[in-house]
Point group: C2
Chain length 190, copies 2
DNA sequence: AGGTTTGTATGATGACCATCATACGAAATG
DNA sequence: CATTTCGTATGATGGTCATCATACAAACCT
């Protein structure tokens, strides 16, 4: 279409990117429409020309946050199969990831609030879990004795839990120790 | 002291118990002073005779939530040492625990929001993590080859992550599968 | 008993936000 | 160039709380 609607799409995308970052940092409850719009270079009033309401924005922003999943999985795929699990653990459970939630895993950032929120939130969350599990299974298939699906789910749980705990404690030393320990725990299997 | 202050202490305790349950269910942001007081059989105005503000209540309520930690650890202590880790995993990662967050683990319920909140929240959280890790170490000491501290932290991460994910997905089947898989993953070590 | 203390209830106050109503101005259309 | 369209900005509106001010009544003290 014309220049008009193209620009609108770009604006929508800018709002979405801003929201995706902000919601991972601030959480659902902490996310303010005004802040998102400001981060996108606009004022609050324009918001409702792009999204029906805050919930619609959040669901879209959550999905948006999985843009980088393929990179994460893809970089593990380049590894020899025995190293893949270890590589995933050690790229996820980093202090950098812990300290930049706005660029990080949306499961760790938003699971708690998605669980509580009614509506379509749990379905939306579930969709991404299924995809992530499937990707991990492809990656691990045949490389782990036992059940690849179980390993995928266990490893996801371990990563999310380790990150959530590491973010919540005050002492960086303890926090780093939690990250290391979670990674090592996941790695300590045949 | 007199009947007066005794009753006040009891009232304070009732408020605290109500808050401890409600905050695990609703989260920090979702917790309303009015609701807590109503659950304690009072009206909102009386709140400030017991606590300085909502934050003070929440920190106290969080601590209160660890009343049952000793039970959990204690019941594992009765087991033969090789079964302890498995027993912990299988008592934590249950659908009952998932479905009653108000009676469940405060790490899984509140980590995300404690991480975000400033002030004393992270220190408060950290204190409980340290205690939990120490208790787990005592329980596992010498029973796991390798580092008991690492196992304790890994196992805590796995439990919290599994619970948080299981609570966030919509399909009970997938949710149960996540719980089972996390438990099995943690168990699948020599 | 009579006055005082103090735990609780009722009713503001004010902040913060999502959402809506309206207005403006630039691009699109003829 | 006149007119319409529509993305954005400004300024309500209304709801939800945390917190505070005031009032009451039961327990305390002498």
């Amino acid at each position: 279409m014309g220049k008009r609607s193209e620009e609108k799409q770009e604006t929508r995308q800018r709002i979405l990117s801003a929201a995706s970052r902000l919601v991972r940092k601030e959480g659902i409850a902490g996310l303010k429409v005004t802040d998102v719009m400001a981060a996108a270079g606009l004022t609050h009033g324009a918001f409702y020309a792009h999204f029906a309401d805050k919930n619609e924005l959040i669901e879209a922003a959550f999905h948006e946050a999985f843009d980088h999943r393929e990179n994460w999985i893809g970089s593990a795929r380049k590894r020899p199969s025995e190293e893949r699990l270890s590589h995933l653990l050690n790229t996820y459970l980093t202090s950098k990831h812990r300290d930049t939630p706005e660029q990080g895993c949306a499961f760790a950032a938003l699971a708690r609030e998605f669980a509580q929120a009614g509506g379509d939130f749990p379905k939306t969350f579930e969709r991404e879990v299924r995809v992530s599990v499937d990707r991990l299974i492809e990656l691990l298939e045949g490389k782990t004795e036992g059940n690849a699906r179980q390993t995928a789910m266990g490893m996801l749980s371990l990563c999310v839990g380790g990150m959530v705990l590491a973010r919540a404690v005050d002492d960086p030393k303890l926090s780093n120790e939690l990250l290391k320990a979670a990674a090592a725990f996941g790695d300590a299997r045949p």
